[in-house]
């Protein structure tokens, strides 16, 4: 009998893990991916949609086309998980498992900040990005605020990329001189990681983008065009772009598998649930103190697949995750820098260059035929224990 592996979530982590398990274990495993939409969305593309540089069509594909033929796909939401071995689905059915992988991702909870739904734009969904693109199209100068309404959030560099690319966009349209741009940061610097802030802050300054630090968004008043911070400051806007607060998925909380914020308590090296060793978690769903990004899931997936393969073969799992992440950070003007780091080594981002810009451009285009299938070398992402 093949081992039954159920993966909840068909994003980067879920899809890649499913394909790696099928490739590595063949007929010793039967993998089922459960996903509520059956569509795989390339979320880094939302940024380009918002700025009118791409349309939404290339951002979503049928998940079935990305999975190896023997992997089953169930297009339905998971309602509740019995950690002892069964996933209950929304329409009443259930699937048994020997191994469960939580690749459930994060959800947006903009309603947790009063006024944010009505008063702010974002580019963290296709609908949000299209709505923002429309508002930018008719924007003719004034005050733009760009910021973050809660930590943690997906793709930490994205709001900075947006503000720098927005500055470019307004310059090209000839309305930069009559637009004031301010970046609101919840911390006392522009970015969570200090070494990256040291590269980015001088760029913000050169581009005339004001940086307002320690601004933790408390409320938005759309009628007055004012954002208020927990620290007691107010900022006025004509156009407001805020990354909404994020939380773990409802199924995590409904199953009693979540910690604060609905994030899954996960061992930082083995990626096992801290209370249920037969459950592994990866990607945005975990409570690990690293970037919530596709890159993180990409580097975690081989570790999860290898650990389950070892268990299926009756050997001791040895692969561990060392916190490896690699993110591009586009700084506008056709230049990009790159953040590469792990638990032990903070990033030392190079000065933005055209070379990294080309690399990001190529990655965006090659994503569909490389990452979900595991065609990008991942050797460096896993560390075998002695």
């Amino acid at each position: 009998m093949p081992a039954e592996v159920v993966i909840i979530g068909g994003g980067v982590g879920g899809t890649l893990t499913a394909n790696l398990l099928d490739k590595e274990l063949g007929r010793d495993v039967h993998v089922t991916v459960v996903d509520p939409t059956g569509m795989h969305v390339y979320q880094p593309g939302f940024l380009y949609v918002a700025l009118g540089q791409a349309n939404g069509r290339w951002l979503a594909r049928d998940e079935r086309t990305l999975l190896r033929p023997r992997v089953d796909l169930v297009v339905e939401g998971a309602e509740r998980i019995d950690p002892e071995g069964r996933v209950h689905l929304e329409r009443g059915g259930s699937i048994p498992f020997d191994h469960l992988i939580m690749a459930t991702g994060a959800r947006l909870v903009p309603e947790r900040v009063p006024g944010l739904v009505e008063g702010a734009h974002h580019f963290y969904s296709l609908e949000g990005a299209l709505r923002l693109r429309e508002s930018l199209r008719t924007f003719d100068g004034g005050r733009i605020l760009v910021g973050v309404a809660g930590i943690p959030y997906k793709c930490p560099p994205a709001p900075l990329e947006f503000v720098l690319m927005l500055e470019d966009h307004l310059r090209r349209r000839g309305i930069r001189a009559r637009t004031e741009i301010t970046f609101l940061s919840p911390l006392n610097r522009a970015f969570t990681i200090e070494s990256a802030s040291e590269v980015i802050q001088p760029i913000l300054e050169r581009r005339g983008i004001k940086l307002e630090t320690f601004f933790n968004v408390e409320t938005v008043e759309p009628s007055a065009g004012v954002v208020t911070s927990l620290e007691g400051d107010k900022a006025e806007y004509d156009l407001l772009v805020l990354v909404p607060p994020h939380a773990g998925q409802a199924v995590v909380e409904a199953s009693g598998l979540g910690g604060p914020g609905g994030w899954i308590p996960t061992d930082r090296n083995t990626l096992q649930h801290r209370d249920h060793e037969q459950i592994l978690a990866l990607g945005d769903a975990t409570d690990l103190p690293i970037s919530k990004s596709g890159s993180t899931a990409h580097f975690e997936a081989p570790v999860v697949a290898s650990r389950i393969a070892s268990q299926v073969h009756g050997t001791t799992p040895r692969a561990t995750y060392g916190g490896r992440v690699m993110c591009f950070l586009e700084t506008g003007g056709g230049r990009t820098t790159v953040l590469r780091f792990d638990y032990e080594h903070p990033p030392a981002p190079p000065q933005p260059s055209r070379l990294w810009h080309v690399a990001k451009w190529m990655f965006n285009r090659l994503y569909w035929v490389t990452v979900p299938q595991g065609r990008i070398p991942e050797r460096a992402s896993r560390k075998e224990q002695p």
Binding site: P186, L187, N188, T192, E194, F214, L230, E231, P289
Partner: protein, 84 residues
């Protein structure tokens, strides 16, 4: 007998953020401040070096009160009173 900081005030909430990298301890404090009442004291334990500057700077900016900072072996304890 040595008098401990926590003997001098009632600590309403204790956040053990040891092992959490920056900005985790500060964001945990900010989350706790949101949920606390005025005058409550929150204790944050952090082993991150950055907290030694980030936490006092945020407390001052946000108008709260840093009641005490105690250096222990390998970590620091911050006692913050919500002032408004």
């Amino acid at each position: 007998m040595a008098v401990e900081v926590q003997d001098l005030m009632k600590v309403e909430r204790r956040i053990d953020a040891r092992g959490m990298p920056c900005p985790g301890p500060l964001m945990s404090l900010i989350g706790a401040i949101r949920e606390s009442s005025v005058r409550d004291v929150i204790e944050v334990l952090s082993s991150d070096e950055g907290s030694k500057t980030d936490i006092p700077a945020w407390v001052e900016k946000a108008g709260h009160e840093l009641v005490a900072v105690v250096t222990e072996d390998g970590y620091t304890r911050f006692f913050v009173r919500k002032a408004r």
